[in-house]
Symmetry: C2
Subunit: 395 residues, 2 copies
């Protein structure tokens, strides 16, 4: 069997230690996937990944469909060839990107009409097209196309999203079966929606489980709600998922969110947070965030994080030079800090796995809670209002 999730420790709820087997190798879980939306990390060659402990990478099917196009990715050897990465790859169906691409976005019964991000014109991004695109891109794991509400507290919106998500999930599950299921080398994961409403999440999860996907994702979180609400949404989803399948929390994120979601039974994560924070001069360390534009770093000759063994910190480029470079809009500081941040999260996940194995998870969880207290977002920027048939961003 091409895919298998071995639960090494833990149960249906609570933190879990596992091993996810794929045609391109194994992934020790809990695991964090760096994001290569368009088939490449932002500014980093794939050669940095193995040394920092990365075992699985995420790309985005919709973006690759838009450019360079499915045929070209096929010619380059599929998403693995394009990425120049021979480990496991998961592609998102592009739901989030579709819903965040702006005014032309329209959800209808059978899909989403979205502006082509490269050539203009309208693409009808349907469950069938998302499935077929991913089948040809050939990642190890494909995600179903779902509908992600942007206001998780709006019950009408959340219920409608669950209804569409389930209808599309049935379609894609059938297509998956028709193409031989995961036995032909690609797993398909369902996505639980339902906003902040436990009953909606339960209904969504139960029906997805009845459809018997190869794994399950929790979607529709990290879309602006606070940490407590986010974790409530996670818990209301994972508790209905089967013990023997991987659980993937989409678009999360910060050290606190990671550890708290792991405590609620999540096995896999992805987020642009480490690279995006790096590009905006924020370094993640075991002493908390460092904002390198802060004037106190001007004359600081010490490396980014003196305690860190990563290549960026070991390059010896001093904090003062990084600060000056950020101010001069040089490329190097962004790259060094984002590389460090990727390492930091991989290191965090490694510590989590070691702590789980050693029975010390609660201690580590407490340390992360101290170092990374919840930071609540301010008021969200105004977005397009909910209208039947029109829905914006997720996560």
């Amino acid at each position: 069997m091409a895919f298998r999730f071995d639960l090494i420790q833990g149960s249906a709820s609570g933190p879990r230690l596992g091993r996810f087997h794929t045609p391109h190798g194994e992934v020790r879980t809990p695991a964090f996937m760096p994001v290569a939306t368009r088939g490449m990390l932002r500014g980093h060659p794939p050669t940095i990944l193995r040394p920092m402990g990365v075992e699985m990478v995420l790309a985005n099917a919709f973006h690759l469909y838009a450019r360079p196009g499915i045929e070209t990715v096929e010619a380059l050897g599929g998403v693995h060839g394009m990425l120049a990465w021979d480990g496991p790859v998961l592609t998102d169906s592009g739901g989030f990107q579709v819903f965040s691409l702006g005014a032309l976005d329209r959800v209808h019964e059978g899909g989403v009409r979205v502006e082509h991000p490269v050539y203009g014109g309208v693409v009808d991004w349907t469950p069938e097209l998302a499935f077929e695109s991913q089948r040809r891109l050939a990642p190890d794991v494909a995600m179903v196309l779902d509908v992600c509400p942007d206001r998780p507290g709006d019950r009408d919106q959340a219920a409608w999203a669950v209804e569409r998500t389930l209808a599309w999930a049935r379609t894609q599950r059938r297509l998956h079966e028709k193409h031989g299921g995961s036995g032909r080398g690609q797993a398909l994961f369902g996505i639980v929606q339902g906003g902040v409403f436990p009953d909606l999440r339960e209904a969504c999860a139960r029906e997805l489980v009845a459809l018997d996907f190869d794994g399950y994702a929790v979607g529709g979180v990290s879309v602006g709600e606070d940490h407590a609400a986010r974790m409530a949404g996670v818990e209301a989803s994972t508790c209905w998922l089967p013990v023997d399948r991987l659980r993937y929390l989409m678009g999360v994120g910060t050290p606190l969110d990671l550890v708290e979601a792991i405590a609620r039974g999540v096995d896999l994560f992805d987020c642009v947070f480490p690279t995006r924070a790096g590009r905006f001069a924020t370094a993640l360390t075991w002493k908390g965030r460092l904002h390198l534009l802060n004037a106190r770093f001007r004359d600081d000759a010490s490396p980014l994080d003196p305690d860190c063994p990563c290549e960026a910190c070991q390059s010896g480029v001093p904090r003062g030079a990084l600060r000056a470079g950020f101010k001069a809009r040089e490329i190097l500081p962004m790259l060094l800090v984002s590389q460090h941040n990727l390492f930091f999260l991989q290191d965090l996940l490694r510590r989590v796995r070691e702590a789980l194995a050693g029975g010390r998870f609660e201690e580590l969880r407490e340390e992360v809670r101290c170092r990374w207290p919840p930071r609540e977002p301010g008021p969200r920027p105004e977005r397009a209002r909910f209208k039947p048939g029109a829905r914006p961003p997720r996560r």
Copy 2:
């Protein structure tokens, strides 16, 4: 003695093989310096340099003066600390940058009034200030502040530039002496100007040699003239320089220019050409230039240069992915191609040194002439006209 140039092979004219000793180590010449204008390479950590054979790096004194400022660079451990590079460093005085910063540029008897590129306002960038700034930045080699005409065929402009350059050279040579000369750990190089006029170049070179600098640069070339005129300018300068001092050709460049200048007795080079070409999707190879935006690379699954052992080519990222990434304005393709180009030029210089040692330089020169035929620039964009007291860009 902190500095010494050992001529291993060759004479005053013709190709030379040498070794330049500095307080931060030796440089095998002919050598090419990657450019770290603001104290960092564009997008590359200093750790890439040694493995590709780089032995000396260039930074820009005026840019570092403007940001982060001389005091901050001192606090970071001088230009070596800022760069996180413990090998030899040369700083340009900033002449080229000063003359290219636009409308406020004004040359007067005692210096250049130039707009501060960060804070606005006017900086009077004088020979004294350029010298003192470099003394404190602490590179191994400082360059004199010179005046570089932008139209090398304009005799009035060239003569005036030589006059100013020599007056300022005398001032800076005196300051160098006053501070103990190169014995205190910093060499000072003079710069030969004179446009396309051999008699002006001769006069400038003779007087600089009489002032006895630690080394000599050829300036005012590669400012839009064709290859033949450029080489004539080089030859008209190097033939007056002493055999036992390093010769440095500023802002050059292409494989053809490098090899032809080496044939005319140049030992050291710098240029943004490899990194800039890389950012604009042009890869340098032994089969000539590759323009990666070309449609023929769309479905090309081969690496950037299949024959190249550099990290970028060995990363395995296929040409088709590089092309797609360039189109999507991703950062990675720029970095990989510019890293490859830096490697390519280091590899070219290594081959030159080996060919010189093995008596095969003329064969290599012929190969480079075949692979890299002269490409003449089109008409230059209109620039501010020459006015006494106002002069634009050099190189």
